[in-house]
């Protein structure tokens, strides 16, 4: 919790400066204004992938070492996978309807991204309704989600697709870079802040459970 005030300030500064830089960034030659969705569509997936790898590491640690703290980080990061994934899945069609003329196309990248998001929905459902021991089962789902996530990333290179290629980000021209860099930092800082808050909630819930057990004894 000691990092929360500093992270809150960082998130506030970044989320105030990002829209200014996005407004100042040049228009893209073929897509025009709608391409500006790129500055929060891609960073939301970057934040989701960060959440996926944090969840994968925490889930593996909980599966093999049974550390309660790792379980709390796993549960927190799974919720953030769903949150940032929802942002990516909503902002993408808003971009696609103008760029492609369709809200949604069942092509490899979009379909696999939706399935990956559903993996983390299932993680949360297993934890919520799976009964005793469901934490371990959910951790296995988390490890599975982490293992399949690289296939979603490389899907645009493996199959014929309408989605922009992964090379768009590394080859980004210098006028687009400041807005993209600050937006990505803003989403990563937001991920860090929300993770810290959610882990603290988990810690307090565990303390409450311990108090209830002590009360019953």
């Amino acid at each position: 919790m000691k990092y929360v005030p500093a992270l809150t300030v960082a998130v506030a500064v970044l989320f105030v400066s990002a829209p200014i830089l996005v407004a100042m960034a040049p228009y893209e030659s073929t897509m025009g204004l709608v391409q500006k969705i790129f500055y929060f569509h891609v960073p939301s997936w970057i934040a989701m992938y960060t959440a996926i790898y944090v969840n994968g590491a925490a889930s593996a640690l909980f599966l093999f070492r049974s550390r309660p703290a790792a379980d709390r980080v796993g549960a927190a990061s799974a919720e953030l996978c769903v949150l940032f994934g929802a942002m990516g899945l909503v902002t993408g069609p808003l971009w696609g309807v103008k760029a492609w003329g369709h809200w949604w196309i069942w092509e490899p990248r979009l379909t696999m991204a939706l399935l990956l998001w559903l993996v983390y929905i299932s993680y949360l459902l297993v934890r919520r309704y799976g009964g005793p021991g469901s934490e371990k089962l959910a951790a296995a789902v988390g490890v599975f989600g982490t293992a399949v996530s690289p296939f979603v990333y490389v899907s645009v290179n493996l199959w014929r697709t309408i989605h922009p290629l992964n090379s768009v980000v590394p080859t980004l021209k210098s006028p687009f870079r400041p807005a993209f860099g600050i937006s990505s930092l803003a989403f990563l800082a937001l991920f860090g802040l929300l993770l810290a808050l959610r882990v603290e909630l988990g810690r307090r819930q565990a303390a409450l459970d311990a108090l209830y057990l002590a009360d019953e004894d």
């Binding site: 829209p19 040049p26 228009y27 893209e28 030659s29 073929t30 025009g32 204004l33 709608v34 391409q35 500006k36 969705i37 790129f38 929060f40 569509h41 939301s44 919720e79 949150l83 929802a86 942002m87 909503v90 902002t91 808003l94 971009w95 309807v97 103008k98 492609w100 003329g101 369709h102 949604w104 196309i105 069942w106 092509e107 459902l125 309704y129 645009v156 014929r160 697709t161 309408i162 989605h163 922009p164 290629l165 090379s167 768009v168 080859t171 980004l172 021209k173 006028p175 687009f176 937001l190 929300l194 808050l197 603290e200 909630l201 307090r204 819930q205 409450l208 108090l211 209830y212 009360d215």
Partner: protein, 92 residues
């Protein structure tokens, strides 16, 4: 609850599959890099503005909603802790 959720998910999947079957366009070439331009056509700007605002608005709404859920859950845990501590003090 789970049964209702399964029914909703199945309906969403069926609707999505049927709409995609009706309007699946042939895939065109994927864009590999972005080229800067000075300004878009005014008509294009008018048509795209609500989409950009909706995307940005959704990001904010989703974040605020999640922060609200954390705050609500934290308040509940703290209230339960106070009740439990009071009960333990009364027993002593």
């Amino acid at each position: 609850m789970i049964r209702r959720l399964c029914v909703v998910l199945a309906l969403v999947a069926c609707l999505g599959a049927s709409s995609s079957a009706k309007s699946q366009p042939p895939p065109s070439t994927a864009q590999s890099e972005f080229e800067p331009a000075t300004a878009p056509a005014p008509g294009d700007q008018m048509a795209a503005a609500p989409l950009v605002i909706a995307a940005y608005g959704f990001v904010w709404l989703a974040t605020l909603f999640y922060v609200w859920t954390i705050r609500r859950r934290l308040s509940k845990v703290e209230a339960d802790m106070r009740v439990l501590e009071r009960r333990q003090t009364e027993r002593r």
